[in-house]
């Protein structure tokens, strides 16, 4: 039986959620009808555009752009601070609505879901359900969504991006030559800034040209990624809809510092503070990490990172911090930094794991300390116990970790 997959994508999610919430609380103007953006805090140098309204788009304001540059393009731009708990509750409401149609709902990111409708409804066709979901999101939840309907996840996702906002599109196999292939190749999922120049060199500018290119040629120039995007251009994808929230592949935490970090002491304090938060999250998920990555961004915004593999997986703040510290010392070029990040990946469950002969004897003592600290923080708040290094350092003892239960973007279907 052919699958029926829906992709539901909230239109300019953060902004429209903010707009609906404000309208519900008596705001007079609908933010979606004026040039407005949701942006980070400029004082702490997180001032970038996170989401924009459609009128703001007309001023050529782009997501990820600095707020001062956006204000330059549109002087009467309305800038709102983000409120992540609200976005999570909107996302939850959307998932609840979708679950009324099928139990197979995969939350792909905070504003996108896949729904597997294969064989679930006998009364209505998939097209009717897709239309109904779009209408119900608008009338019940107050924000508009784009719904894409097709036979696999990739085509459903591409369909929902055909024309925005508040639209329902189908992209079945027989519609590919007409609807999908004429699009520029940059619209294809996973053809990003690294891939595009290579494709342009091969004279590939549309998705159709990519689909008709020789897979061997693509593999030669782009390695395995070439084959993946060739398959995508031909609408081939057999990834399943995994109900629930996606299995976590890694836990990370990063922060932009309010001042330039130019000495090792402060940088290490930041790393410790980031590790502290991320390791707490790791433990609360019952996971151990095997790979530690440290990433840095300097004042010129150039980004670099370094990672290492641990001999045995761990969730201990101290051991993870030791690795991060080592990585940082190896890579830092002594220039002032504005952004630091720590990421733990290659996760395993902490039920059974291979210990090593070389394991520190402090491991088990550390586990007990971490557990106790987590419990105290759980009961009395995160600032109940902090490390003695932090007071008067100007650096928060638990850094980063805005409400980010779900990533905003993903690269795996």
């Amino acid at each position: 039986m052919e699958r029926k997959i829906l992709h539901v994508d909230a239109n300019s999610a953060y902004l429209s959620w903010e707009a609906v919430y404000r309208l519900q609380h008596g705001a007079e103007t609908d933010l979606r009808t004026i040039p407005s953006v949701v942006g980070g805090d400029e004082k702490s140098r997180r001032g970038i555009v996170l989401a924009k309204s459609i009128p703001a788009k007309k001023y050529n304001i782009k997501t990820g752009e600095a707020l001062w540059s956006a204000r330059g393009k549109c002087p009467n731009l309305v800038v709102l601070p983000p409120s992540y708990p609200l976005y999570m509750s909107c996302s939850d409401a959307m998932v609840r609505l979708l679950k009324r149609y099928s139990p197979n709902v995969e939350r792909y990111s905070v504003d996108e879901c896949f729904v597997d409708l294969t064989g679930y409804s006998q009364k209505k066709t998939a097209e009717e359900i897709a239309w109904e979901i779009k209408e119900r999101c608008r009338t019940e939840l107050g924000f508009t969504v784009n719904v894409g309907l097709s036979t696999n996840k990739l085509l459903a996702k591409m369909a929902s991006e055909l024309e925005k906002p508040d639209k329902m599109h189908t992209l079945y196999r027989h519609e590919i030559p007409e609807k999908f292939w004429p699009l520029p190749v940059r619209e294809l999922f996973l053809s990003g800034p690294r891939t595009l120049p290579k494709l342009y060199k091969l004279n590939i500018f549309t998705i159709g040209q990519l689909a008709h290119a020789s897979p061997d040629l693509l593999q030669h120039h782009l390695k395995s990624h070439g084959l993946t995007i060739w398959k995508y251009a031909n609408g081939l994808d057999d990834s399943p809809v995994v109900p629930g929230d996606r299995v976590i592949k890694g836990i990370g935490n990063s922060t932009t510092s309010p001042f330039n970090v130019d000495n090792e002491k402060e940088a290490l304090l930041y790393l410790l503070s980031l590790t502290e938060t991320a390791a707490m999250r790791l433990r609360s998920k019952g996971m151990l990490a095997r790979v530690v990555t440290v990433s840095l961004r300097d004042t010129q915004l150039s980004f670099y990172s370094h990672q290492c593999r641990l001999i045995s997986p761990t969730d201990s703040t101290l051991l993870l911090y030791r690795q991060a510290k080592g990585l940082f010392k190896e890579m830092w070029r002594k220039e002032p930094l504005r952004h630091l990040g720590v990421h733990f990946s290659n996760l395993v469950e902490n039920k059974f794991f291979q210990t090593s002969f070389f394991d520190d004897t402090v491991v088990f003592r550390q586990q007990a300390i971490d557990k106790t600290i987590d419990e105290i923080r759980g009961s009395y708040g995160n600032d109940a116990v902090v490390r003695g290094l932090f007071p008067h350092s100007g650096i928060p003892p638990l850094c980063g970790g805005v409400y980010e239960a779900f990533p905003t973007m993903r690269s795996l279907l």
Binding site: S89, E140, L141
Partner: protein, 87 residues
């Protein structure tokens, strides 16, 4: 009707089926003077969940300064607050 969205002190009744009925509320006006309004009739009640935030919206009728007025009140579940929404 004009949107006001002012929070008010409310006396309401919740019956054994969980149905909430507003009875009377106190609102302070521009001069910081308290005014008590008794709700005479509930004309309509509906639930909205815009942006995933559940609220009850009541269209009600009362006599204010000797004149019969129709207005809307909102109850927000997440904060347990009552608002005079539109008048």
């Amino acid at each position: 009707m004009r949107v006001l969205m002012q929070s008010v002190d409310m006396i309401c009744c919740t019956n054994r089926d969980g149905v909430i009925t507003p009875i009377k509320f106190r609102i302070s006006d521009e001069k910081e003077e308290n005014r008590i309004v008794k709700i005479d009739r509930i004309l309509n009640r509906k639930e909205e969940k815009l942006a995933g935030n559940r609220m009850l919206v009541f269209t009600v009728q009362s006599v204010i300064r000797g004149r019969e007025c129709r207005f809307e009140m909102k109850y927000e579940f997440s904060t347990c607050k009552w608002f005079l929404y539109k008048i």
